[in-house]
């Protein structure tokens, strides 16, 4: 499950969004399993998400999508590429 540390200069991810920032999901950079699970919770390309909070030390990231709030592990959040508004 360990992922190479990446600088990720070109693309913002849900993990690195600022609290309170809104952005549109562009791509889920993960396997089909992850894509399906996020999809089921309504997080998929084209959806607008707003970051609610992030925990200390790379803990889970909470985003609002439609009227639901979803907590996402940091590693997963790093695979959600977004385009800020």
């Amino acid at each position: 499950m360990t992922e190479k540390p990446r600088t990720d200069g070109e693309r913002l991810t849900a993990a690195r969004m600022a609290t309170g920032q809104s952005a549109t999901v562009v791509e889920i950079k993960g396997g089909q399993g992850l894509v399906n699970r996020l999809d089921a919770l309504g997080i998929r390309p084209g959806k607008r998400i707003t970051k609610v909070s992030a925990a200390f030390m790379h803990g889970p990231v909470v985003v609002r999508v439609d009227r639901a709030e979803v907590a996402i592990g940091f590693g997963m959040a790093r695979k959600i590429a977004v385009q800020p508004d």
């Binding site: 499950m1 609290t19 399906n36 699970r37 996020l38 999809d39 089921a40 919770l41 309504g42 998929r44 609610v52 909070s53 992030a54 925990a55 200390f56 030390m57 790379h58 803990g59 889970p60 909470v62 439609d66 009227r67 639901a68 709030e69 979803v70 907590a71 996402i72 592990g73 940091f74 590693g75 997963m76």
Partner: protein, 564 residues
């Protein structure tokens, strides 16, 4: 069927009159419950299943939901009206699997204060199935739902890919839903604050500490102002009278009443069925069970627990668990059995095993805690803290060891966080009542049976033989008197009775601390054992039990060295 935390269990209770535990967090229901309801002239069987987001399962609880699908003639699809888009995805999947469906549009009252307008007729037309708005907690719309169930239909559908399905959902939502803007409510502000790391941690500490103090306060008040006077003033004279009638001694007298030296009754120590047997359960344990479940029920229904899970996720990962394991763990403080069952919401087998093992070893159930407060608390608060501190240390150390010792990986957290809701008084009280009734029904025969067994064993000298055999380990490693062996063995039956057995042994405070810790950690009580067996199989139980025995001897031994 429906998404997690949309109120399926509440609807089920309303339809069948069979009450199942419901709360405000996804994953309350982890198994299925059957019930029957009157439908027209006949009876219909209804099954309550765990929630699922899609028909492709990701955890044990969702798998259970899917296995139930083919056995249904009609699916009542419960939909969260405040989150139409995500919920309709499952609705379309259900329609595509060609089962007749009716939709219960639940949480209908919430749509109004959340500024959501839904065009019901349009939704019925687009889905092609009956749609009934409901407010399950108050019962609104349930009658309509019942009358519409026979009219469930399965409109012809083409199979869609996930993308096509979302597109279809998007089209439906665009046509039926209107959202008007409105401001954040104070509950939503609280919700945001309680999940941010800084404010959230402070709130979490305050809430947990407050809960602990409140539980203690309510229980102790109940004991000193209600239950003790009841036993002393009303029950004691009856017992003394009975004691006289039985002649003050003899086998029957000892079994029923026990010791009555000096015309006084020592309820915790007399060891009779009608004295200690009743007092341990109703006088010492029940008040704690009552206040614990009252507090837990409120936290559950407000919707706080998933937020706690997010906050502790980072720490829990170090223990090979993820944050959601905090919910089964908290349930374990009431009784280990529902705690271990609730591990079904965890995704991997490894996590489930680690969580369940940690619960059965390091989490004392309410019955045991009540006795710890009652007996150890008498010697001073510092000793109670020692017991809890040791258990916490064990939980952490054992978690670290299991993390490296058990193969597999712990998936990352991915959960939906429900909005805060003001709990309905009726729902909270009903849940409390069910849990207490469950406790009384299950515990009474075992407590009374246990006390009876102990008395018989004493009378026939069986305990002396066992105590002698196990004495070397208990006296040298743990530094306990050899009679304590009896109590430790009784722990297999019920932990509360077992700790009660240590009361008359004249132990030092340190010994009592060691005894409580070992009792908490060693063999699971019989009910926990059965659940572990059912959930993890014989090999799993043997593995867990071996860990337990080793861990309790090590922790008890170390504690003994420090304290003596």
């Amino acid at each position: 069927m429906g998404n997690p935390n949309v109120g399926k269990s509440v609807i089920f209770s309303r339809l069948t009159g069979v009450h199942v535990i419901s709360s405000n967090y996804p994953g309350t229901t982890v198994g299925y419950t059957q019930g029957t309801m009157k439908l027209g002239e006949g009876q219909a069987e209804i099954i309550d299943v765990p929630g699922t987001y899609t028909l492709e399962p990701t955890c044990e609880a969702e798998r259970i939901a899917l296995e139930m699908l083919p056995s249904g003639d009609v699916v009542v699809n419960v939909v969260d009206a405040t989150n139409l888009e995500r919920n309709l995805y499952l609705t379309l999947q259900l329609l595509e699997s060609n089962v007749p469906v009716v939709v219960a549009l639940n949480l209908w009252d919430d749509t109004k204060h959340r500024g959501i307008g839904i065009d019901l007729d349009k939704l019925r037309e687009l889905l092609g199935v009956p749609v009934i708005p409901t407010v399950a907690v108050s019962g609104e719309g349930i009658k309509d739902l019942v009358s519409i169930i026979p009219r469930a239909v399965s409109p012809p559908q083409k199979a869609r890919t996930s993308e096509e399905r979302w597109a279809a959902v998007g089209q439906i939502v665009a046509q039926v839903q209107q959202i008007s803007h409105r401001h954040h409510t104070w509950l939503e502000h609280m919700a945001d604050a309680s999940i941010r790391p800084l404010t959230g941690s402070i709130m979490a500490l305050a809430i947990l500490a407050g809960t602990f103090v409140a539980v203690r306060f309510i229980s102790e008040s109940l004991i000193s102002y209600a239950i003790d006077p009841l036993f002393e003033r009303l029950w004691a004279p009856v017992i003394l009278r009975l004691s006289d009638l039985l002649g003050g001694s003899g086998l029957l007298h000892d079994l029923l009443i026990g010791n009555t030296t000096g015309g006084e009754i020592d309820f915790p120590g007399a060891l009779g069925l009608l004295t200690t047997g009743l007092y341990v359960e109703f006088g010492m344990v029940l008040p704690y069970v009552f206040s614990f479940y009252l507090a837990l029920g409120l936290l559950e229904d407000i919707g706080y627990l998933p937020r706690l899970a997010v906050l502790v996720d980072t720490v829990m990962h170090r223990l090979g668990l993820h944050g959601y394991a905090v919910i089964p763990t908290l349930l374990g403080f009431g009784c280990n059995v529902p705690g271990i069952l609730a591990t079904r919401i965890l995704e991997s087998k490894r996590e489930r095993f680690i969580a369940a093992t940690l619960i059965s070893i390091a989490i004392p159930c309410a019955s045991l805690q009540a006795m710890i407060f009652g007996l150890v608390g008498d010697r001073g608060v510092e000793y109670v803290l020692m017991v809890y501190g040791t258990l916490l240390a064990v939980w952490v150390v054992l978690g670290l060891i299991l993390r490296y010792g058990v193969k597999g990986f712990t998936p990352e957290l991915l959960i939906e966080i429900p909005p805060y809701r003001v709990p309905s008084r009726q729902a909270v009280l009903q849940k409390l009542w069910r849990r207490i009734r469950g406790f009384v029904v299950e515990a009474t025969p075992i407590v009374l049976g246990g006390v009876l067994l102990i008395n018989l064993f004493y009378s026939f000298g069986i305990f002396d033989a066992i105590a002698d055999a196990a004495a070397p380990v208990v006296t040298t490693v743990l530094g306990l008197p050899k009679e304590a062996v009896v109590a430790l063995i009784m722990g297999f039956l019920r932990k509360d009775v077992a700790l009660g057995l240590m009361a008359p042994l004249d132990m030092t405070a340190g010994q009592l601390v060691v005894g409580s810790v070992v009792l908490a950690m060693s063999f699971p009580c019989i009910a926990t054992f059965v659940i572990l067996l059912r959930e993890f199989g014989l090999r799993g139980v043997l593995k867990a039990t071996a860990i337990m025995v080793a861990a309790s001897l090590i922790a008890g031994g170390i504690l003994n060295l420090i304290l003596s």
